[in-house]
């Protein structure tokens, strides 16, 4: 159906989006690239050419860099595991005929609407505070010593907070996927005597595979840039410094723009490597 006319029209229609995103990507990237080659420390008044690759070498060779990559992977991985598994279970549950389904769904979705800053503040102060937090009260009620969440299990704490915010998103997409499943197929399997687990393993899960990859892709994009949650809760301390946060510390806290920019470029490269593999998988699914 695609005529020559519509093809050129299509190009025109796509142009603004492509052009704007190209500018949005290239201009800051080039400036950052330029800064990354300088000794640029505003507080010292230096703006000197040329460090060459010095900033890159320094950024990568510091021990903080390797730690931050590991922390990032653990944090993003942990959140993905919790939200995907939790999302599948929750979606299966919400798919069942339950009383007050609409209200239940509203309650489950709610955390997705909460600002990250607010979520982090509320969890940090009102739940995870080891003296006044609600979890501490709960622990004491059962006679246990309250957990010092943000100091003793800081990474887990942040994973819990962020998972709480993203669980609804995963649940929603997975729920739509389950609901689109042909119920006759399931019933037929049930007739044949297939138990819940084999039905789940052979019919439901394969059907959801595509939705799961979509959830993983979208969440990864957002999770790689987690910032407010760390800023508010631990300030990057106790081994919760992700790559994004390390770059922040270099640029803003140390005001070493050259070094931080080098870190930013490295973060872009690493993120795109991750993205490349993810998109491969999703790209395949888009064809299907």
């Amino acid at each position: 159906m695609a005529t020559q006319h519509s093809r050129s029209a299509a190009r025109v229609m796509m142009a603004p989006a492509v052009f704007l995103l190209l500018v949005w990507m290239l201009v800051p990237l080039c400036l950052t690239l330029y800064f990354s080659l300088l000794d640029y420390r505003p507080l010292r008044g230096t703006f000197d050419c040329c460090e060459g690759l010095g900033n890159y070498v320094r950024f990568v060779s510091s021990s903080a860099f390797q730690d931050s990559v590991v922390t990032t992977l653990m944090m993003v991985g942990g959140i993905l595991v919790i939200t995907v598994i939790g999302g599948i279970l929750l979606a299966l549950l919400l798919d069942q005929p339950i009383f007050g389904q609409g209200v239940v769904r509203i309650l489950v979705i709610a955390p997705f609407f909460v600002m990250p800053t607010v979520a982090a503040l509320v969890w940090k102060n009102m739940f995870m505070n080891p003296v006044n937090g609600l979890l501490a009260h709960l622990w004491r009620f059962f006679g246990a010593e309250p957990v010092e969440w943000l100091t003793n299990v800081p990474l887990l704490s942040i994973i819990i907070i962020v998972s709480w915010m993203w669980l609804p998103f995963a649940t929603l997409i997975l729920l739509t996927a389950i609901q689109s499943l042909d119920s006759e197929q399931l019933e037929a399997a049930e007739m044949d005597g297939a138990g819940f687990f084999s039905r789940f393993g052979y019919i439901i899960l394969p059907h959801m595979a595509r939705a799961i990859t979509v959830v993983i892709l979208i969440q990864t994009i957002f999770l790689l840039s987690i910032f407010a949650e760390i800023f508010v809760t631990t300030g990057g301390g106790f081994g919760t410094r992700t790559l994004t946060y390390l770059v922040y510390q270099r640029v803003i806290e140390s005001q070493n723009v050259g070094l931080g920019s080098a870190g930013g470029i490295i973060a872009v490269i690493l993120a795109n490597i991750v993205a490349f593999f993810l998109m491969r998988i999703v790209g395949k699914n888009l064809d299907a």
Partner: protein, 438 residues
């Protein structure tokens, strides 16, 4: 004719007045400030300022300290000109003043009474003989303790305690079953949080950040003594989760009666003795920060101050505001509205000679003594190449201090040992200082 002239003159006057009214508030200044109690009070008094200066309108940007510092620093480094008045501390003033990012506060008017500023505080805000920022409130640190718990433990707090006494008292007061912890100290990582406390404390142990050749000193016995003492004390007598407790968290704990002693900013004194906020208001005593008999005490010196960025487009109006907010008249204004105990402390000599204040503020004398005790030029026992009691006034310190703070905080959380922490700190600071070209 006479009548006509008068009428004419009157209408001309009226016209001028109308024109003035139309032009009134033609200058708007944007004030960036931290969300501390004293600043929020200042914001609440906006009307008092605009009544006296109808041609200047105020816009407030009140942010949490870290967000504020991030925004203000970035803006001033880029010359963004977003703010006309900024709230900065004793750490930033010398560095930014040297970069010529701040407007010198000269010609502030007679009412400002610059001579009245406490010399110890004003000295830290002066660059090349010019006052670069005007102190809004000044603070040192001191020991705040519960007199009732001290009595129950059968001890008496001296005016100038030693660290050994603090340890003894902290252990005696601790009663974990009733949620009472002998001592609350900062543990939250940050150059202005745990490192402010630990650096000041290390001075009294004779430790220093750098020797005169800028070599980091975390491998010295003095630092090992400081950190071990701090960790032992906190493990024996500190509250749970101390590694996440900053000023705010400890203030809340103390006000709820969960701390026997708290060594922190002198401004906290008015909060812990305020019966509206504090459950223990009537049983709080004060003492100087502890020492080890080495001639230095573990107290710091800090002043939240108002300054004008060079990129401001309304420096004159900004000066008018600063002269109002940090002048002697402001103290009287707050006293009228909120009582003398609530005026911003630690900036003016006259305040500490005012009998009304001394009566309303039982902590006044100890605050002044603590402020005068600190010496930013010679913070510790041995000579140092830097200025600053609880910080090192070099641009790199903010980054370095926070990272070292995170390392020490991890030690407090039990993730690493004191030796490991000092080793990591030494390695990290050495690397950073090399890279910075020292």
């Amino acid at each position: 004719m006479y009548l006509k002239n008068v009428l004419g003159a009157t209408s001309a006057l009226a016209l001028t007045a109308a024109a003035t009214a139309a032009f009134a508030q033609d200058t708007t200044i944007t004030i960036a400030t931290v969300n501390n109690g004293d600043m929020i009070r200042m914001q609440g008094l906006t009307d008092a300022f605009t009544e006296a200066h109808p041609d200047i309108a105020l816009e407030w940007v009140t942010l949490e300290e870290n967000v504020l510092r991030q925004n203000v620093t970035t803006d001033i480094a880029q010359g963004g000109g977003q703010y006309d008045v900024i709230t900065i501390g004793t750490y930033e003033v010398p560095i930014w003043g040297e970069r010529e990012w701040l407007v010198p506060l000269t010609d502030m008017g007679d009412d400002f009474a610059a001579d009245d500023l406490l010399p110890a505080i004003a000295g830290g805000l002066t660059v090349d003989g010019n006052l670069m920022a005007s102190p809004f409130y000044g603070e040192s640190s001191m020991v705040m303790y519960r007199t009732d718990l001290m009595d129950a433990a059968g001890l008496e707090m001296p005016d100038a305690p030693s660290w050994e006494f603090i340890r003894e008292a902290a252990i005696a007061m601790t009663d974990r079953d009733n949620d009472i912890y002998g001592v609350c100290l900062r543990g939250k990582p940050g150059w202005g949080e745990n490192m402010a406390f630990l650096t000041a404390m290390s001075n009294s142990f004779g430790a220093r950040w750098f020797d005169e050749d800028w070599t980091p000193q975390f491998d010295t016995q003095e630092w090992a003594d400081t950190l071990n003492f701090y960790l032992d004390l906190m493990n024996e007598a500190g509250p749970p989760g101390a590694a996440n407790n900053g000023f705010n968290e400890n203030l809340a704990l103390f006000q709820q009666g969960q701390c026997g002693m708290w060594i922190d900013a002198t401004v906290a004194a008015s909060f812990v003795t305020n019966p509206d906020e504090s459950e223990v208001a009537d049983s709080v005593g004060f003492a100087l920060a502890p020492d080890n008999g080495l001639g230095r005490r573990g107290n710091w010196l800090w002043a939240w101050s108002l300054a004008i960025p060079a990129s401001s487009d309304a420096p004159e109006a900004a000066k008018t505001f600063i002269a109002w907010a940090t002048g002697p008249g402001y103290l009287e204004l707050v006293a009228e509205n909120e009582g003398w105990a609530n005026v911003p402390p630690g900036t003016r000599t006259s305040l500490y000679e005012n009998p009304a204040y001394l009566e309303a503020a039982p902590f006044a004398e100890m605050t002044l003594a603590s402020i005068n005790e600190a010496d930013p030029q010679n913070p510790t026992v041995d000579p140092v190449p830097y200025v600053g009691v609880q910080f090192v006034a070099i641009p790199e310190f903010q980054g370095i201090g926070t990272q070292v703070g995170q390392i020490f905080s991890s030690a407090l959380a039990g993730q690493i040992s004191a030796e490991e922490a000092l080793e990591q700190a030494q390695a990290f600071v050495t690397e950073e200082m090399d890279a910075a070209g020292y």
